[in-house]
Amino acid sequence: MEITFIEIKEFRQTMLVKRGEGFDFLREMVGMDWEKEGLGAIYILENSITREGVELAVRTTDREKPQIPTVSDIWYIAELYEREVFDFYGIEFTGHPDMRRLYLRNDWVGYPLRKDYDPSEAINPVRLESETKEEVHREYEIEEDRHLAEMVEKLKILHYDQYVINIGPQHPATHGVLRFRLALEGEEVRKVDIHCGYIHRGIEKLCESRTYPQTLAFTDRLDYLSAHQNRHALCMCIEKAMGLEVTDRVQYIRTIMDELQRIDSHLLMFSCLAMDMGAITSFIYGFREREKVLDIMEEVTGGRLIQNYNIIGGVQADITPGFASKVKEYCNDQKKRLKEYYDVFVNNVIFRNRAIGVGVLTLEDAISFGATGGTGRASGWACDVRKRHPYALYDKVEFKEILHTGGDSYCRLLVRLEEIVESIGIIEQLIDNIPEGDYKTKTKPIIKLPEGRFYAAVEGSRGEFGVFIESHGDKMPYRLKFRPMGVPLIAAAQKIMKGCKIADLITIGASLDYVIPDIDR
């Protein structure tokens, strides 16, 4: 990956030009600490139509008060990404409308992903008192030279006279520990303020002190419903950097497992959406079939949630003898069951009324928020990594990229259900033709990557899952960044939840299908 560094003074101008050239999708933004060369960020941009990519970076040597102009008005998603970089590297983005920490507490001392961060417990003890509410925006006004800026305190985030309720962190509908602070007016939501970080584990920081094989185990614990795909992405990135080719058999197995995982995730999405809307019976029907997928995966990988299957150069173990017949039996059964879901839930008038036209995400917004996966495709954005940048066997199998144009919660569910059918199709094309060969390529016991920056992406269950590695030639990564699938989704949620009812908020949340451990890495 070739990165162009831009001077800080020309940064905003360059970014605006790039946006004008059609680079409307900010694929990834990686905060970096290059020690002597300074702090900065890497921006991976893509043109959503031509699929052409460009990698830019900006850095500043000021470690005391590093400032970089914001791009949050150019790509909406940068608002959250910049807050994340601010949180971990202390880089303040001038012109950003809401410069608060994203994951850590307000009273956290220091910036943990900096290389000179002191992790001692004396500085950041386990604090037992509750966090002080930070109701004030901090904003840096851009001055003439687009660099030096003064901090000003702006409007309160939520006013004291508003009817504020917390959905989460412990709430049945947030699918984990995410917290929405809502300002309500009757049943209507006036403003949404999202708080993440309740289960942030610092995986990216941990990876910097782990060898490459050791980093693999973390991926299953990000988005646990895309465990295979996540690990596939990391293995692919490392293999790409090593120049390692895996055998055809491995590619087949990986592709099949990825698709099984996708079915598993989409079934869970359907079930949880049903449960959030009160249709508990549909929830159990979905889980009944999901159980069968898990059984198949457990037979091969030994795990139901934590799969631990892909390894660098192959897979952990060969597929079991009865695998193909079990998968085929399951696929046939699933196709019949899908009709049941449509009958009992999807076509139900109550559900249709609650989902159609609720939480509409326009195509422009979807791209600007980088909301890939089923959410983006429901808005009509052909964002499937399997089509955009084919990997494994996806250029050899035939499948349709499901696109809907409604952009509402109903379309988001339909995309998932139709993708189950496509995934079954992919599996059926591959399952009988798995070639003979080794299920793993021998690697050296100590894996060292050559110096450089590498990015690999797969289509996870709910969007593009990317892995960025900057290697300095060690056996450990200098910087390892996962492109989360969930952050764009909650960023989009913040916008489309405005003005809806409380009940719609639940529908939108469930239909966006975010998984919290993926947001809080």
Binding site: R221, G302, G303, Q316, N348, V349
Partner: protein
């Protein structure tokens, strides 16, 4: 499709979709149930052989294991789950002294089942077993000595 937009059409369409849903649940009412009654079904329970429940060190009939105390598993473990203590014994015939395993401690509570230790072991001395009923009341009980 046109009838959907009229008042009566709406009602008929809604009623039809509701009745379809009710038909599905009614059919389900009479089908066989899928509940698995653990622990009553222990005898018929199928646990795939690859299921990773706890780390074990197989011993042969004489009580010997294959571990050579090389310490690779200890090094490779991301969580520091494994700790090995060695002792030096002198072979009586040759008079050479060599390092052998004294105690192999494994902390099940901190293990994340990444299989790196099993993969790296040059002798295949350790493996994951299917014994999944590992609940205990005290964390200390999860630190297990694997060798006999």
């Amino acid at each position: 499709m046109e009838t959907r937009n009229t008042y009566i059409g709406n009602i008929i369409h809604a009623a039809k979709s509701l009745l379809t849903g009710m038909r599905v649940t009614l059919r389900e009412f009479f089908t066989r149930k899928i509940t698995e009654q653990y622990p009553e079904n222990r005898s018929t329970l199928h646990i795939p052989s690859r299921h990773r429940a706890t780390l074990v060190m197989p011993h042969d009939a004489d009580g010997n294991n294959k571990c050579i105390a090389c310490g690779l598993c200890q090094q490779t473990c991301p969580n520091g789950t494994i700790s090995i203590t060695t002792k030096t014994v002198t072979d009586e015939e040759t008079g050479k002294s060599r390092k052998v395993l004294a105690e192999y401690h494994y902390d099940l509570g901190a293990c994340m089942f990444c299989q790196l230790c099993v993969n790296i072991c040059p002798k295949g001395a350790i493996e994951f077993s299917n014994e999944f009923e590992n609940a205990v009341f005290d964390r200390k009980k999860l630190i297990i000595k694997l060798n006999r």
